[in-house]
Amino acid sequence: MTSDTTAVTRSNKGAPASWGLGDGQAIPWEYAPAPESRETVTIRERYGLFIGGREVPASDGSTFTTVNPATEEPLAEVARATPADVDRAVASARRAQRRSWGTLPGRERAKYLYRIARLLQERSREFAVLESMDSGKPIKESRDVDVPLAAAHFWYYAGWADKLEYAFPGRIARPLGVAAQIIPWNFPLLMLAWKIAPALAAGNTVVLKPASTTPLSALLFADVCRQADLPAGVVNIVPGPGEIGMHLVTHPNVDKVAFTGSTEIGRKIAKGVAGTDKALTLELGGKAANIVFEDAALDQAVEGIVNGIYFNQGEVCCAGSRLLAQESIVEPLIEKLKDRLSTIRVGDPLDKNTDVGAINSRAQLEKITELVASGAAEGAEMYQPACDLPDRGYFFRPTLFTNVAQSHRIAREEIFGPVLSVLTFRTPDEAVEKANNTPYGLSAGIWTEKGSRILAMVQRMKAGVVWANTFNRFDPTSPFGGYKESGFGREGGMHGLHAYVRLEDR
């Protein structure tokens, strides 16, 4: 399936105008394929659940297929957890929390987490290749962003495990118990690290449900737990569909629920824990504004806009999906953006030159296609560069909409794809008004060379992360999470520990 190509496009493979080659000139070179070797990964035919330190089949023997979204070929058969399996996983986590992990001194827990961080570093290429094959993300991102950040998260929280009394002065931090964690498909290993590292550091045990389209890196992580000799039951992994996730979060023997995913599912989960004593943190959707003022360094801003919306095919909750450009610079900015778009390489996720890989699933591709069609139907003007898409796989051209009104669906709904909607503003007040005019509040971007304006805009953004003259930066020390309907609680940094502890008086 390919994206709609009825849009205005440049002449095939035309060079950007800024290159000065003259109109309609072809880019004077081709990129040779630079495929990453698959040798580092052995993908087995079948994977089981990871419960109580052992790999086990589903209680009813059922499985599901995970496919490579870049080729549509099956990668492996994965056990589909049943409610009974979830019950066993929760029981196993409870036992481990009571008998081994919860009573282990913090400095011993720390050493296990350091081991995990080191193992992730040692096996980084294996994880990167597997992640790209299962999720469709470009190898340069899984290699340079997902996997190193995942290792860094374990490294960072390892050091907290024996220092909790300094994170909560005047209080004793106790673990909550068993954490039920549900993660999305856009950053499978990284989201696993965001969830598991702080939970374990604080003395909790976990039952984690990876997304059903991307279970493989979590199951490879199970092997890391075994290599680290992590006590049995501290980490349990139960792949399966959404119903299994709901069974997990509503399980009476769970103390904490952490979810990353859509606001729609976040609501269901919040209702699932209503009336209980379970702690809850939610990291949900977004529709971030990336605001470019007329005094911004435009070339840098263009790089930031591109990174903001086309990073990971735009399948990023904090993606800068709404560009707010000051009216006086809209035309040069759009021209530069179109130039830059024509150099983006879409294709094989395992090719080291690829900028935009495959959309994670057919369902997601259909959702993007539908929303993009609505943009055109509602009167926005669409632009897509004329790049070739592979014959097979779920690919979508980087897309840019101009003449977008705030009422358009593409300006209101989270697309979760490589689609940028451009809106304009005249004054800072108007920029603030438009940026905050959304039920979401996860992130925002500000581009200006004026320091005082940055700080004034930062203050007025209703968003949990504000990138000024940069976008889509992440770090284990940096708290991440939303305002409003983008969720509550923070992941990362000292604040990320708070989600996994109960504070008692000294």
Binding site: A270, W467, A468, D475, Y483, F488, M494, H495
Partner: protein, 315 residues
């Protein structure tokens, strides 16, 4: 509906009106709502009888309606931005002044708390004194909480990265049912010092001290609309508060247990932040006079959002 026949002020020594020592007929107070800095009766024209702990009638309190609640949320939203924008030191001073003004009304609070809660005079006096001191304790956090909860984050790249707390916005508070003044102040002060505007549903059975507190707030420097207080029936008001989409967070401490699941389900629709009574803690038995247990910076943090800011470092 029975006529109130005993004023909670009865405990204050009776005044005499003239030389002939004829007992003076007391001027009784009308207990009203507090919305946007004004004292309306409920638009619904309804009231309900409030009785003392010993069962004797005290007063007719306003029975607020859904419309009153929506008006209160609108007033809070209007006031929230200005309150959040005040300097931390100024906010601290404004809240400290609430304590100053309460100090002058100790006798009235004492009488109302003693009548409402049926506790000994010594305990009632202690509750009032602690309620005042609790304002002072929380007011002092205004210009410190950002330093305790904020951070500068050592990211592994050339960026300056910091995290600052900001108020969540409009907070709904379902006040403790049992502790009419000290419990209320202990739940009200944390979101206020954080910079939020609030809508309070007072204790249903013991609402009079809350109303008197609004008279203190009205004459303090707390801007109109920053605190709005409704009296009425919790089963009628609380679900409306929980479902209101312009309320960003809800403190469910005083929600009756039978309503809790419903309230939290309604609050989930717009991903409201929920500050719950800790597991195993009873509203009726919680000891608000235990400073250690009842004064917590975490309760301020429950009504703050953490904002993280990145900027590149370079020349």
């Amino acid at each position: 509906m029975a006529t109130p026949r005993r004023s909670p002020r009865a405990a204050v020594p009776a005044q005499t009106a003239g030389d002939d020592a004829t007992p003076r007929i007391e001027v009784r107070k009308t207990y009203k709502l507090y919305i946007g800095g004004a004292f309306p009766r409920t638009e619904s024209g309804r009231s309900y009888l409030v009785s003392a702990a010993d069962g004797s009638p005290l007063a007719n309190a306003s029975r607020a309606s859904r419309k009153d609640l929506r008006d209160a949320v609108r007033a809070a939203r209007k006031a929230s931005e200005g309150w959040a924008a005040k300097t931390a030191m100024n906010r601290g001073q404004v809240l400290y002044r609430v304590a100053e003004l309460m100090e002058g009304r100790r006798a009235q609070f004492f009488a109302e708390v003693a009548a409402a809660e049926g506790i000994s005079a010594a305990r009632a006096r202690d509750a009032v004194a602690r309620a005042i001191d609790r304002w002072v304790w929380y007011a002092g956090w205004a210009d410190k909480i950002a330093q305790v909860l904020g951070s500068s984050n050592p990211v592994a790249a050339p960026y300056f990265n910091f995290t600052i707390p900001e108020p969540t916005g409009v907070v709904g508070i379902v006040a403790p049912e049992t502790s009419s003044l000290l419990g209320l102040v202990s739940r009200l002060a944390p979101p206020l010092v954080a910079g939020n505007a609030v809508v309070v549903i007072a204790s249903e059975t013991r609402p009079l001290p809350a109303v008197t507190l609004t008279e203190v707030l009205a004459t303090s420097d707390v801007p109109a609309g920053v605190v709005n207080v409704l009296t009425g029936l919790k089963p009628e008001l609380v679900p409306v508060l929980a479902a209101h989409e312009d309320v960003d967070a809800i403190d469910t401490w005083g929600v009756p247990e039978r309503l809790r699941a419903e309230v939290e389900t309604l609050a989930a629709d717009d991903i409201k932040r929920i500050a719950r009574r800790p597991a195993g803690v009873s509203d009726a038995r919680f000891d608000w006079s235990d400073d250690r247990a009842a004064e917590r910076p975490e309760w301020i943090a429950a009504f703050l959002e953490m904002k993280t800011v990145w900027h590149p470092i370079g020349v």
